[in-house]
Amino acid sequence: MIWLTWRQLRLQAVPVAAAVALLLVALAVTGPSLVDAAEDGARSFLTGLSADTFKVTLYYAGIATAYALPLVVGAFWGAPMVARELEARTHRLVWSQSVTRTRWLAFKLLGAAAVTATVAGLLSWALTWWAGPIERAIAAGEGTGPFMVSRIEPALFGARGTVPVAYALLALAFGVLAGLVIRRTVAAMAVTLVLVVATQLLVVSMVRSQLAEPETITTPITEENLVGLMISGDADTIENVMQIQVDTAETGEWELSNLTLDADGERMRTLPAWVADCGGPPPGERAQAGAREACFERLADEGYEQQVTFHPTSSFWTLQWRESALLLVLALGLGGLCFWRIRGDAP
């Protein structure tokens, strides 16, 4: 069975593995120079790196590959595994050899899962290692140019650590099950892509932030920490202030919310129009002397505070392990469904 598993998987596996291997070589060659350059100091390191087009491209290519890999695995390794046999009716040839269907599926699933875990694991490990110096600099608050996003933030989280492996395995399970249920290769591929993307979006938007207890900082709003202010209406007739944002001393965090509380600790949906003065005059107008200072004083007097909720950069691995475990349990469940589904009629 091992021979047959590899014989049938290699056609899809080799091109994907080769593409990943090419990327790994590029990472291995350029990685050591990043470590050296980082020793010069974080600020000058990232500034210098921003000018290196090849490494910037590599940085983004790595992220793109890590996100694309589960889709490729699900659609090209998972979905055709059983669907193509059913379509060509070769399931009737292979299931009438002296190997039970269950055993056949076990070898095919585990074989593909082993290749998937190896390819995704190597890719993610290499990316995490290569981008390590960059991410340490970003976590230290020195982010600049194309290197602004901390690895715990949604855009990068799925391309680092163990999560890419878990997504790839989950996508494989989705693909095999879709093929078994739909019995058509192309339709199963399409459904697999939709399911994988939907799962990623669902996890990012609703699940991930719940996997660990976020931290909360409540701080007075001051001239120093105010970084954003959103106004409704136009410059002449300000209706109200929609929201204001402050910066905390925290660096490299994943910010979940940045809210204004009133003196009773209730969340303010909108703020009074006078708060606009805290943002300074509209562009091209002269500042009214003392208006800004008065505004911040009034905010303090009336008891307004800003509440920031976030996952600190130190929670990265906790979130990684928990999300990976969750996805793997889901993948195992889907794999079990495959074994249940393969019994019964094979028309």
Partner: protein, 299 residues
């Protein structure tokens, strides 16, 4: 043990369909025979063979293959060879790869036998099966089924896609393999001529039910076409089971299964060939089991 395939009131419906693809099928096929399963398209032949090969799960009744439930484990799978309709093969894989697959997946694989067969058939092992003719593909599928050294070989319409010459060669080749290996074979066809030379046991399946089953010699010996003067419809010669009846103005012809010696001199009895025998059972169904459509004129 002498039973290759035993079924008891076996029935099969697909999915939520209300139509029975096979119904109340009770059969007992002995080992050491070449059993021909005949019936028109859609009669349930593939369903019966699919159930026997363990590809389908019965909806009703029970089925035993070589004394066990079909495909009840890898050991049982090794005892049964199955070639599905249209003899599916991996079109992108070479003949040699198919043989390697057989060798890897079957503990009793007979490599020498298989190589000898491929050699004799003159098929280049490096060719992909997708580039072979239908007849050659069927031969590859048969070779794989024989190569696992089964006790029972189940072939579903093995020659349906072949031209007449390839059909004859395939059947001849099958007969040689059977003679060499002491196999029990169950094969289906909707053409009697495919089975004529090969089979020594016959099962006729019509409208998802078994119409007749038995040793071919005995069936031929016990059936007669009887012709005599015009009789009332469906009242055949006494003591005999009427299979079909047809009448002209002056003559009545019955195909009967004889219950004893034919003594009535008013009948002219002639033996039947296999084709006529099968056709009698197929027609028998058509003439008095299926309700005739009524035609009304609406003005």
């Amino acid at each position: 043990m002498t039973t290759a395939l035993r079924t008891h009131e076996l029935g099969k419906r697909y999915g939520r369909s209300r139509h029975w693809a096979l119904k109340d099928c009770t059969l007992d096929l002995p080992t050491g025979r070449v059993v021909g399963l005949v019936g028109p398209n859609g009669a349930g032949k593939s369903t019966l063979l699919g159930l026997a090969a363990g590809m389908l799960v019965p909806t009703a009744g029970r089925i035993d293959v070589l004394g066990e439930a079909p495909s009840s484990g890898s050991e049982h799978l090794a005892r049964v060879g199955f070639v599905s309709q249209d003899a599916p093969t991996y079109r992108g894989m070479s003949v040699a790869d198919h043989l390697r697959l057989g060798a890897h997946l079957n503990p009793r694989w007979d490599d020498a036998l298989v190589r000898e067969r491929i050699d004799r058939l003159g098929i280049d092992p490096s060719r992909r099966t997708g580039s072979l003719s239908g007849g050659q593909r069927a031969q590859i599928a048969l070779t794989m089924a024989i190569g696992k050294r089964p006790e029972l070989l189940i072939l579903d319409e093995p020659v349906a896609a072949l031209d007449p010459l390839a059909r004859r060669e395939f059947m001849q080749d099958l007969m040689e393999a059977v003679a060499e290996q002491d196999l029990t074979v169950v094969l289906s066809s909707h053409l009697v001529s495919d089975l004529e030379r090969a089979c020594d046991y016959l099962v006729v399946l019509v409208d998802s039910q078994v119409r007749v089953a038995g040793d071919l010699e005995e069936l031929l010996a016990s059936h007669r076409r009887m012709t005599g003067a015009r009789r009332p419809s469906d009242v055949g010669p006494a003591g005999h089971h009427v299979v079909t009846a047809s009448h002209t103005d002056r003559q009545s012809t019955f195909v009967v299964r004889t219950g004893g010696p034919l003594v009535d001199p008013s009948w002219d009895a002639t033996p039947l060939g296999l084709e006529d025998l099968v056709l009698a059972y197929l027609r028998g169904d058509a003439s008095y089991e299926r309700p005739r459509p009524t035609v009304e004129v609406v003005r």
